[in-house]
């Protein structure tokens, strides 16, 4: 069982995702800690995988096919989650579509699309869930944010800018809702891969520069998500907490 302080039994979570692999692992961590979980994402395969994890762990699971770039679908997503779970205590936004290209080759359409998915979707989901959380004066919003929000990598201009935007949205909304009982925090992700890279020396230039000589596995953000979702974090807001194997401590 989960230590009592971090237990999420009786709580309802909505995991909204797009792009990389976070939905499945975040949904599983929340379910394992006792929460019932609604998953909203566009890809039918990812939706099925994430919901499958929640069911496997014996929690109530709700699948909500959602394109988070469409405001009307985001509104319906919140309505359906509230209707089927009975409320939303926790919102996790995990919009992480990777995109990298030399700046001179990035088209305006690509830029707009990337920002729309990775950054503007956070705005849409926070606003939609705010309608539900603000009157209740209680809520947890957890944004999964790449550490490239604070650091750059060549060719990642659009991605880093969008992630930097999510980080600043997180801090600003934390201040705006600091007196509303809603905490807004960021889980900072370093370099992650689903494949095990332990001991694979020189697998890439990047790997050699990582202090732990390995990528993180996406499940490794789960415990931090649970911590931030729990009742122990009423005083923790506007924070960016990293799971990165010391990547950000490195000069």
């Amino acid at each position: 069982m989960v230590a009592e302080e971090f237990n999420l039994s009786g709580k309802n979570a909505l995991v909204a995702a797009y792009g990389r692999f976070w939905a499945k692992y975040v949904a599983a961590a929340l379910a394992e800690a006792g929460a019932d979980v609604a998953v909203a994402t566009k890809s039918p395969k990812k939706l099925e995988e994430a919901v499958g994890e929640v069911k496997r762990l014996g929690r109530k699971a709700v699948a909500i096919p959602t394109d988070v770039t469409q405001s009307s679908q985001v509104s319906k997503m919140v309505e359906q989650a509230v209707a089927e779970l009975g409320g939303i205590d926790i919102l996790v936004n995990a919009f992480d579509l990777e995109f990298a290209k030399p700046l001179m080759e990035v088209t305006e359409d690509e830029w707009q699309r990337l920002v729309d998915i990775n950054l503007t979707s956070v705005f849409r989901c926070c606003q939609a869930v705010g309608k539900h959380m603000l009157p209740r004066k209680k809520g947890r919003i957890i944004n999964v944010i790449s550490c490239l929000s604070e650091r750059g990598v060549a060719n990642y201009t659009a991605y880093s800018a969008a992630m930097g935007g999510v980080l600043q949205l997180t801090k600003t909304l934390a201040l705006e809702w600091a007196l509303e009982g809603i905490t807004v925090n960021g889980v900072g992700t370093g370099w992650f891969a689903e494949a095990d890279t332990t001991g694979v020396e020189g697998e890439s230039l990047l790997l050699r520069f990582l202090p732990m000589k390995r990528y993180g596995h996406p499940r490794e953000i789960g415990s931090l998500v649970v911590y931030l979702a729990s009742d122990t974090t009423d005083f923790v807001t506007g924070m960016f907490m990293t799971v990165d194997g010391a990547a950000m401590a490195h000069p």
Binding site: F6, A174, A178, V226, T232, T237, G238, A249
Partner: protein, 274 residues
């Protein structure tokens, strides 16, 4: 599973400065999660009292009088813990001070006061990390949690000895994280915000108008309580944080997000398109 990872059964934790305030609450929080506790501190009655309260929770406890400014005493703290408790899994370097009483204009600062703050904060943390290093490296596991402050990142008027030491602790932590990254030893910094410990130390209760002044500048509209930071320590002491090292985590009531600014400061500026 997520679960058991947050528990500390069978683990031994040392908390320096564990007789009072935040250190005491961290000791009791870790004990409730299953850890056996070694309480270190300069004054005997408070550490004995914390040890007694840990035993009342059904855990083993040992009080070891320690002044962390003395490296020999830090070495003995580790040796005695190993000989009497059998193992060490968690070290919380919480002892220190110098946040208030030592504030004075730099032209009035004496060598004695400066070195006293340096010794208690930076050197004390260094001495304890050094003393435990050989043991953690040999057992290929260990958790170190160093208590710094937002003042390790920001300045405070006439608070330079404290700020310098807390910044020193943050960078000591990051450097050791890199040294130990492949030895399964995680070392992190936690930064308590403005924490009101008066429930635990009534002599530190601020006057009512001071409380109003402080909270009017906290984004969450209140100062912290020791439990706010103790849960962060518990998380970082547990197996749930095995991929987290070299990090600085804070429970600061939102002040990291926007700095100390008046509560409800929210200007409205219309969007004016060209």
């Amino acid at each position: 599973m997520v679960s058991g990872k947050h528990r500390l059964e069978g683990k031994v934790a040392i908390i320096t400065g564990g007789g009072t305030g935040l250190g005491k609450v961290m000791a009791l929080t870790l004990a409730k999660a299953g850890a056996d506790i070694v309480v270190a501190g300069r004054r005997v009655p408070p550490i004995e009292q914390t040890a007694k309260e840990v035993r009342d929770l059904g855990r083993r406890a040992l009080a070891i009088p320690t002044d962390v400014a003395d490296s020999e005493q830090c070495n003995r703290l580790i040796e005695r813990t190993l000989s009497e408790m059998g193992r060490i899994d968690i070290l919380i370097n919480n002892a220190g001070g110098g946040g208030r009483g030592e504030r004075r204009p730099i032209q009035d600062m004496t060598d004695e006061v400066w070195h006293d703050v340096m010794d208690r904060n930076v050197s004390g943390t260094f001495y304890c990390c050094r003393a435990v290093a050989k043991h953690f490296l040999a057992q290929k596991s260990g958790k170190v949690i160093n208590v710094a402050s937002g003042f390790g990142l920001r300045g405070g008027r006439d608070n330079y000895p404290y700020c310098a030491t807390k910044a020193g602790i943050i960078l000591l932590t990051r450097s050791l994280a890199l040294s130990w990254a492949r030895d399964n030893i995680q070392i992190n910094t936690i930064a308590p915000g403005l924490i009101d410990v008066s429930e635990w130390q009534p002599e530190l209760r601020p006057p009512p108008d001071e409380t109003v002044r402080r909270t009017s500048f906290m984004p969450t509209g209140r100062t912290g309580i020791p439990e706010d930071i103790a849960y962060l320590a518990l998380f970082l002491a547990s197996d749930a944080s095995d991929y987290i090292t070299g990090a600085l985590f804070a429970a600061e009531g939102g002040t990291f997000a926007g700095g100390y600014a008046p509560v409800r400061h929210a200007p409205i500026i219309a969007l004016e398109e060209e």
